[in-house]
Symmetry: D2
Subunit: 351 residues, 4 copies
């Protein structure tokens, strides 16, 4: 109920600061008898590792996951699964100058306002590093929904203003930018190089698609599947907008065009994005999220210090030029976690 | 935890079907000693009434609220507040033909898939009528946050493709379309008339602004204020997209432009929309939602019947040509409910 | 999460004050397609009515339940079931003298301390009247667990120091005191008459037995079935102690006697009371609760007034001489509600 | 919401199996700016260590706690506190013979029934070892309530049928059995030696007293403080009964004797045990729990194997002859955790 858990039956709690000893997750409510190995979780973490693109963060996060509980003889037992990721390379010296300065676009100032104290090193709990725990938990969620035939795939639809054409999931997976359109990918890389040279960063749009989802997932009014998915995705630090199906374009459509006609095999269009009245239809679920540019830029920025006096902050170290592509598996993880929870909830009411 | 409640400490549960005996809400966790009268709640319900615009639904919902508990001598006592709204004009005959047909864009087919049964009359639980209970509960939430100086106002930013210029809250309140731009309002009304004549419906965009919110509201990772707001807004039946601050436009900005510089008085821009790392900054919170066109159109539509056979459905009765303006107070209510909950949660950790 | 709801998936929220307009319950998460009629709920309410014994409260609570939502054509739809009970006979004049006095053994003083305000009429929210809503919700829970073959029956084991011998559920049901031992019942009635004559009240012990419960219900550590049952029963206003199986007697047993040997057909004894490690074994669940004497006695009592000055309070009106037998269906209702919730939770993890 | 978390605002999740790599807890919702060191938590863990009495388990659990998150510069930051205790001495060989046998009085058979799989080594998740995580989390809870002046102390009131007289908390703390009555303690030790020689085990009663608790903690109906305390204590594996104040004795009292008269300074008796209508009065909270004898006895016991065939099980290794005194800090921890949660909840409704 406090702010570090998500889900009702499949419940994920994450913990850990960027430069503390470790980060991790506890998954409570995972059904028993699922075969899961540390390697499965590791594979997802590796998709989130730095170094995917030339401009990426040089921090070498080992990100080795250790499973501390909840498995016996390679299978889940129904008890909580505790996942631990040590912060191997957590030298915090680079952050000494930030103890008394608030970085624009970061949570420094709000954590201080909320708690009257903060771990300023690397953003503490507000660091993107926390998403490693989400991805690890998401790997377990993928197993839960995978057993029901549900697959979640995300891809880079836009980066730095470059719009990609859709492509196959395989093409997206093979791309360092998770972009299935090779031409767009080249242009995106060029923009990243430019931005990096200018000490700046770029935003983009990620699209998430869910295939194989049965109809009936989602609750009537306040636990609607689209509401829970939107909340889970908006809860990723970088995300400033979420849409489903036709999304914002629906605001400019007429009802006769927006309604998806129903035919014996399903629907002849998918403006709904796989959800009607908050419950899955069985059609593909399609979501898009808007990612803001990473706020850690190399240029000096106007700010205030802890005493409220004007100051200039320059963020040292090297940072990614875009949250894309590393955010892609995080989006997938959040969607998988929400779906796993709703899958279990739906089972509860079905004799 | 089931799907008809929202909030942790300020918790709203709604119930009721469109054509059942009544609809209502229970508010648990409202602080004591707030002066509230039925008239305060009624005033909010009246802002949601039909008949605001010529094209609106002629159904005359009495929507008289009765307070059944939780108040004593005009003040809240801290115990649950039960609100009851009788469905005065709930003749369900018009829906007899829909017992075995699924209306495109509606939840008929998904409720049937989820539960194996549904109240088909007027959409049952999935009806927009359920939002009356939200608005009533939101009136109580407004009091809770109002005591802390927080005010929530929404307005119509776009309707049928017509984009309005911002204006004063007073101008928006005075407009039947909740649109503060008189020129745009005229054009919107024209589009509504056209759509109505064509048996069609229109979508639009509503913007919600929150003033006076103190810094520090929101939880670190999974109960972020922007995540909870996005989830609450996406949970309104008509909403297909939500954005905060710069929103989708942030995806095309550079970090140096997107970061809001911090100055002694606050921020010199508001691309963040009043939230950093999921916690309020003290700046104005700015949200926008994309509303799809109402799916109940007068034209015949392709669908299937309960046996999965192709069919054509024609929706009788008269319906609104747009969810705007009636959705405006619903958006406000959801934002107020989320803020009330987080305001109480923040108090809990402050000695 | 606030204090007027119980359950995770089968979730009951009650509301209402003793002398407000009404009391009621919302049940969220009831599975669809259960046949339930208002008469089924009414039958349970009638088991809780006053007038069962000569010494009982003369207040004639109509306690007519109205179902406001969640049913269609006589069956549950999966949406919230709202139950309403009007307070037909709620003249509050008798309580005028209690506005500024705290009755010993009552919640007057604690509600005032907690909220800074209270509805003093008849105990407000802390009145035993609130249990009518629990019994109504329990009638729905009984249907949920009844479909799985689970039956809950309680009986009066002790009253005013008179200990009854066990008997058949039918004998208990036929007894006005819910006591299957006719000799003990006569003695209990005599004690009640004496107590009443002396302006005093009596306590007792109720035993609850659950038959047909499948093994596997309950969660590992913090949602153990015995923990949830104990919490639910201790949450009845009159209850000061709860035990399961051998209960307090187990504290004086040796392990070799306390352990229930396991045989192919089950267990050869039931000191565990049907629960091992917080999970049902499939054996009968046996619980006992200690009920204190009703604090509303006719004799003058020492107290303080709202200003903290010494005072004497004399409680007018006529009150029951014991919470037994009216508490019996309340105990059953609470057990049924907890079991319904855990039954659904168990289904969620079973493919 | 799943079964390994407790609390709404101060929320504790535990994880870990007896013979897995580690056990631990995540505490979410701890207020910021509390000074806590690993040594504070370690001190509580040491009170739960084996070897307190001659007959105790010889397993040398290192039980060294490591704080992995949530603190900065020695103070809590408001973010989740993750506590890790490695299982240093977890050779599971002694349990090989138990893979296919269900030990009477243990959760072997119910875990298997619930999940279709279990970690049979040392009881897995159902092991008393799990309580180490509770004690660690309880040490943090003690800090939270300690700042408000609330102190929780438990002592051994009865063991093997020997009833102790009350004494000072200091005397209880100094006793290896946590028994402040030296004469009773000697007799208890003699009974333990006898039981051990006979290959048997003993039960007992622990009393928990809370001093300094302000009035007003607890929720009206389903989150009553006594209900939550009873649930938390019944959720300790060994506990079969819980009572508050006069407890079961109240069932035999008359109202005139049971009601605690109110005087300007408080109450002139404490049959209520510090709680009226589920809300604290400000008086001392007094609870008692009945602990069954540990089910791991040295004698051969009748049981069945995994195929349901009759079998005899003999439990190897050396086990404690009583859960007392090691359960004493566990009881304290659970009470502290519940109080911490309610303390924060009460703050939320107080401006």
């Amino acid at each position: 109920m406090s702010g570090n858990s998500i889900g009702v039956l499949f419940r994920v709690t994450t913990w850990g600061e960027s430069h503390g000893p470790a980060t991790g997750a506890v998954i409570d409510g995972c059904p028993p008898l699922l075969a899961i190995a540390a390697a499965d979780i590791q594979a997802e973490l590796d998709r989130r590792r730095p170094g995917l693109i030339p401009s990426a963060s040089p921090r070498r996060e080992a990100d080795r996951v250790e499973i501390l509980s909840g498995l016996f003889a390679g299978k889940t037992t129904g008890t909580p699964i505790s996942l631990l990721i040590r912060n191997a390379d957590a030298t915090a010296d680079a952050y000494d100058g930030l103890r008394d300065l608030y970085r624009p676009g970061h949570g420094d100032i709000t954590y201080q306002a909320k708690y009257g104290i903060r771990d300023h090193r690397g953003g503490g709990r507000a660091s993107g590093r926390e998403t490693a725990a989400r991805v690890a938990a998401g790997a377990v969620a993928r197993r839960v929904i995978g057993r029901a035939g549900i697959v979640v795939k995300a891809w880079t639809r836009e980066l730095g203003g470059v719009v990609a054409q859709p492509g196959s999931p395989e093409a997206a997976a093979a791309s360092p930018l998770r972009c299935p359109d090779p031409g767009a990918e080249q242009e995106m890389l060029a923009r990243l190089t430019e931005a990096r040279a200018a000490g700046d960063t770029l935003g983009g749009i990620v699209e998430i698609r869910v295939q194989g989802c049965p109809p009936g997932l989602g609750e009537p009014v306040f636990g609607k599947i689209d509401a829970d998915l939107a909340g889970a995705l908006m809860g990723i630090g970088t995300v400033k907008g979420v849409e489903i199906g036709a999304g914002f374009a629906a605001a400019r459509m007429q009802g006769s065009a927006c309604n998806d006609p129903i035919c014996p095999g399903g629907f002849t269009s998918n403006n709904a994005g796989g959800v009607l009245a908050g419950i899955t239809t069985g059609a593909e679920i399609v979501l898009r999220v808007a990612c803001k540019p990473i706020p850690s830029i190399a240029r000096p920025q106007e700010t205030v210090d802890a005493q409220g006096r004007p100051a200039v902050v320059t963020i040292g170290g090297r940072h990614d030029a875009s949250v894309i592509p590393r955010i892609v598996p995080v989006c997938e993880a959040m969607v998988a976690i929400v779906l796993a929870d709703h899958l279990l909830r739906q089972r509860a009411i079905t004799d």
